[in-house]
Amino acid sequence: MPKITYIEFNGRKHIVDAAPGLSVMECAKQNGVPGIDADCGGGCSCGTCHVYVDPPWQARVGGRNAIEDATIEFASGVEANSRLSCQIKLTDDLDGLVVRLPESQR
């Protein structure tokens, strides 16, 4: 089971076991990680599950898809490593993934 680390804007860490097949967003919701609202429920249409992928993981996680690119405009503080966490599917490959939460989602 992949382990995911979420780091809140205030620095608090949440290390959770993720069931493969879930998205990084769903995994956060299931484990009560604060700061990921996901208003739209995973539809890539609200921009409220924004995360920064820790740079060492960027290549493996991959970049934004076209629709995500359009939707992420809703989020503030978008950087090159910004992703909408509903669009990152968890696989065993991502065991150890670290994502940080933005200031706007405190």
């Binding site: 429920g41 539809g43 249409s45 921009g47 809703f74």
Partner: protein, 570 residues
């Protein structure tokens, strides 16, 4: 939802017999052709056997969901030959339409009648642009509509709700639309755009005055949601009086247009954008508030849970949005042959994506036909998907949640009076235009008082208002308006009095009063506000020459329609 547009008159007309040659005969026979609706004939009635979804048949307005369920199962690619469109109803198909703009283009509009009419989309009407033009405008606006910024509006939104609801607590009788849906979203947009509160009130009062002059007719609350006029003035004023509102931001923003050039928005672009936002953000949210009132009245157990645990509000609003989407469909123009379920939709077709059907697709939502605020959260398509997904979704969510919270603070329980309510379904929104409600205490009071003298808002469940007799002394004119939707015929009743003119226009859509009517020599001018299928203001200017009139009507941002009229005897 999309927003402005000339009313798809064709939509409204389609439900009636339109036969110009037949009509004079009917009139001579004393039959009002407007009263003959195709719905009265078996060929158009809701049939049990043959699957025929007629979007213009009012029999479907109250419950489109049973026919949608059949479409999903029996005709996942539906072709309506009579009106010449295709429709998809399954979740995956609707999502596909919205996510692939290269095949399913918005550039001819996102409403069926608009696509079919193929009239030019004004620049800046980004809901009707494809990338990269769409992207250029959208990027400018998304920054203004971030979830964080919208959440920061909470205190003002609560205040607007309080202002609307507090005066009603005592009586325990209120109308979800008139008292809240038509007020709060309008104020919020007004605030965002930076329209000074005093002026909002002035707009409001003018609208109210209009309502008063139409005593005896069903009140048209939807008019109060419109603020289209007067934006020009604010734009110019804001140039010299910058503030921290959206209008100022639009004036100041430098953006990269689709050619890659960095520039400011033009005044015309700002005007179009502001109209899109006002048009898209008012009526939709208004309808959401109405559906909240109706659905929770029907599910008092779930309402009680929400009342006790307000943290359930966000998921309750999502379930309401899923179950009864204020905008039940969007449409796209098909740019290349595309296959659905083994059949081809040819390039050049208009395709309707049935959001309301997709939202109950069992393939995505188990027990989709059940209203359950506790269901597993999955994305509904009520705010669209992909490039055009609702710019105002964060705002609409905040408004919906706060409205529910503030309603529950004052009215933990309520009943709705659906018989006195009025539900309409246009090409863009479906929902309540009037939804009277009362608390259990008020119901007791009503019983004791005996039958209440119903106010003028009372109309039959889905019946359109009955036409009134023509005003006394009125001239009657048969008028043809060459709209982008094709020629529209109507009867004009005019009463000239000095340099003013009053009266009304009857069309199969209903009757609308002439407002602001003036006479200068042979020239008559007036405005008319239609609300179906979309709110739009028409400004008329005609020259009268004996028994004939010629002129035009300006249709919002969609240009002019030529008008010709012939005076009728009597």
């Amino acid at each position: 939802m999309s927003s402005i547009g000339v009313a798809s008159e064709r939509a409204a007309f389609a439900g009636s017999v339109r036969n110009p040659r037949l009509e004079p005969a009917l009139e001579r026979a004393g039959i009002d052709p407007r009263r003959i609706r195709l719905g009265a004939f078996p060929m158009n009635a809701v049939q049990e056997t043959k699957l025929d979804w007629d979007p213009y048949n009012p029999d479907y307005f109250r419950d489109p969901h049973s026919v949608f369920a059949r479409l999903r199962e029996e005709a996942p690619l539906y072709h309506n030959e009579r009106y010449g469109f295709y429709a998809v109803s399954r979740y995956a198909d609707v999502e596909r339409c919205m996510g692939d703009w290269e095949t399913f283009s918005s550039a001819r509009g996102d409403i069926l009648e608009m696509i079919q009419a193929n009239f030019p989309v004004p620049r800046g009407s980004f809901i009707h642009h494809d990338p990269p033009l769409h992207t250029a405008y959208r990027k400018v606006l998304t920054r203004v509509f971030t979830p964080k910024r919208m959440a920061a509006l909470e205190p003002q939104i609560r205040q607007f709700c309080a202002r609307s609801l507090d005066p009603l607590v005592e009586s325990g009788e209120f109308d979800f639309i008139a008292n809240l849906g038509a007020e709060m979203p309008m104020r919020v947009i007004g605030m965002l755009l930076g329209i000074p509160e005093e002026d909002q009130v002035a707009i409001r009062e003018r609208v109210d005055a209009n309502l008063r002059t139409e005593q005896g007719k069903p009140m048209d609350y939807s008019k109060t949601t419109k603020m289209g006029e007067g934006f020009e003035g604010y734009i110019d004023w804001r140039v010299s009086h910058p503030s921290d509102d959206l209008m100022t931001a639009l004036l100041a923003v430098e953006f990269e247009d689709e050619t890659g050039a960095a520039r400011r928005l033009t005044r015309d672009e700002i005007l179009v954008i502001v109209n899109i936002i006002a048009g898209a953000g008012n009526e939709t949210t208004n309808r959401l508030i109405g559906w909240t009132g109706k659905l929770l009245a029907e599910h008092p157990d779930q309402r009680r849970q929400i009342h006790q645990d307000r943290s359930l509000i966000p998921q309750a609003i999502e379930e309401i949005l899923r179950y009864e989407p204020p905008g039940p469909a969007v449409a796209r123009y098909v740019t290349r042959d595309v296959e659905f379920h083994g059949s081809t939709v040819p390039a050049g077709s208009a395709l309707v994506a049935l959001v309301a059907a997709a939202n109950r697709d069992e393939r995505k939502f188990p027990n989709g036909g059940q209203f359950d605020i506790h269901r597993k959260r999955l994305p509904h398509l009520t705010f669209g998907y992909g490039f055009h997904n609702c710019l105002g979704n964060a705002l609409a969510r905040v408004e919906g949640r706060i409205a529910l919270d503030e309603i529950l603070n004052r009215f933990p329980e309520w009943d709705v009076d659906l018989d006195r309510g009025y539900l309409s379904s246009t090409s863009t929104v479906r929902g309540w235009e009037t939804l009277p409600a009362y608390t259990p205490k008020a119901r007791e009071g009503r019983r004791n008082r005996g039958p209440v003298a119903e106010t003028s808002m009372a109309t039959g469940p889905t019946s359109p208002p009955a036409p009134e007799p023509a005003p006394a002394g009125a001239e009657r004119w048969h008028v043809t308006l060459q709209t982008p939707m094709g020629p529209q015929e109507m009867t004009l009743h005019l009463v000239r009095d000095g340099d003013t003119v009053t009266g009304r226009i009857d069309s199969p859509m209903g009757s609308e009063a002439l407002k602001n009517g003036k006479i200068a020599g042979n020239t008559l001018t007036w405005i008319m506000e239609v609300k179906k299928p979309m709110s739009v203001k028409l400004s008329f200017e005609v020259q009268v020459q004996g028994e004939r009139m010629t002129g035009h009507a300006k249709l919002g941002v969609f240009g002019k329609a030529r008008l010709e009229g012939q005076r009728l005897a009597g």
